[in-house]
Amino acid sequence: MNATISFDSVLHVVLALVGVAVFVGLNGLLLVYAERKVAGFIQRRPGPYEVGPQGILQAVADALKLIGKQLVRPDRADPLLFWMAPVLAFFPVLLLFLPIPFSPLLTGWDVNLGLLLILAFAGFNVLALLLAGWGSNNKYGLLGAARAVAQSVAYEIPLLLAVLAIAFQEGTLSLSAIVGGQGGMPWQWNIAVQPLAFLIFFVSALGETNRAPFDLPEAESELTAGFHTEYSGMGFGMFFLAEYANMIVACSVCTVLFLGGWKGPFLDGAWWFLAKVYGLLLTMMWFRWTYPRVRFDQLLNLNWRWLLPLGVLNLLATAFVMKL
């Protein structure tokens, strides 16, 4: 890769990273507002209402409050690990956006191993949760971290199996090539061929991003806030942004793999991609306020007894059909 490094390509990647940082920041504001409104409407209340018309400035006010708050470290917490965790949670996520093809022309870094890059750097999130839970010297934090690792190690396997099925079918790990292999109409998307893989991917993605009903690492009714109990101000803010950024990445990858990416029935472009991603994000929010949080044994049973065998069978069936 170094052989092809030139000033232009470095500049391109740096610009893409800045663009991604802006995109993540703005989406953080948007998704917090959307989540609170969705929660409000599902529970038949207006949601945020006071700050600005329809409460539209509530997220901005929250962000300003978070930035203004004092950063506190617990007395016997390990300073290195404690401050490393939020940084490690947030910055690798920006890398995950680089290979995502938003439109035919809008890709940060069109690497031919894009899918692998995303899967590789997504692992940093677990590491950050572990460091946060351990570093804050707090029993709730530690319990949250222990849950996070058991959950994410387990759910990574069916996720990989579902991704592999698509990679087998398309014969590539490049996200743009996978979009290229699908047509514009909904029945030409991979979801029509691989509905089971889509289901496994989406459920595992909920587990990997720690979203309800699988939000056990931060279950607020049992663990106060789990791994980020001790974080105040932007320490918490960075975990929060990282969680939303991870949701966007998961939905984007899902869109690329199963829903035809930026292709649509007419006028292909970034708008189709964004529409599908926000549709999936709304589904995630809808899930959160519809299903109660599962128990830990239910979470692991669902994974090891259902998702994993189904994923293996799906992969074998895909390989068999491919061979025919």
């Binding site: 692998l116 590789a120 997504a122 677990v126 590491l127 222990a146 690792v149 990574e156």
Partner: protein
Amino acid sequence: METPAILAFGFYFLVIVVGCFMAVGCASLVRALVGLVATLLGVAGMYLLLNAPFMAFMQILIYVGAICVLIFFALMLARADADGDEADPAPAPRTFKGILAAMLPGALLAPILMLHPTASKLIPAEVPLAELGRRLMEDYVLPFELISVVLLISMAGAVLLVWERRDK
């Protein structure tokens, strides 16, 4: 082209060395693990420099994303505090043995590499993924399978070690 490559090499080298010393020198086991993660990331960077992005991403996916997380899980179950027994400085003979063991792979590999140097290229070429898979499953299928046997033996060995401890 030359200078950025040398700068990147220096940076990865520094990350690897600092990570190594953290991994063996820190009293807190979790900090030592962070050192190990840094070392593995530095090695992944070296793979990128060799124009082998597949190896680099696999290194991160498997070692950082899975193995280090599992090591962390084991540490967490053992509640390894920074002021436990293992935080005491190691006795001199053990340190000496440790250094000897660390130098052994170098001593074994260096003569072989010096006697049979492989032709190196000025600009590393990226091997396509399909080519890599084909070579692994056709030309090098025996070594490839033997590696899995090594893994199996080490796993069995770990189980055996724990078994003996339990008898005493």
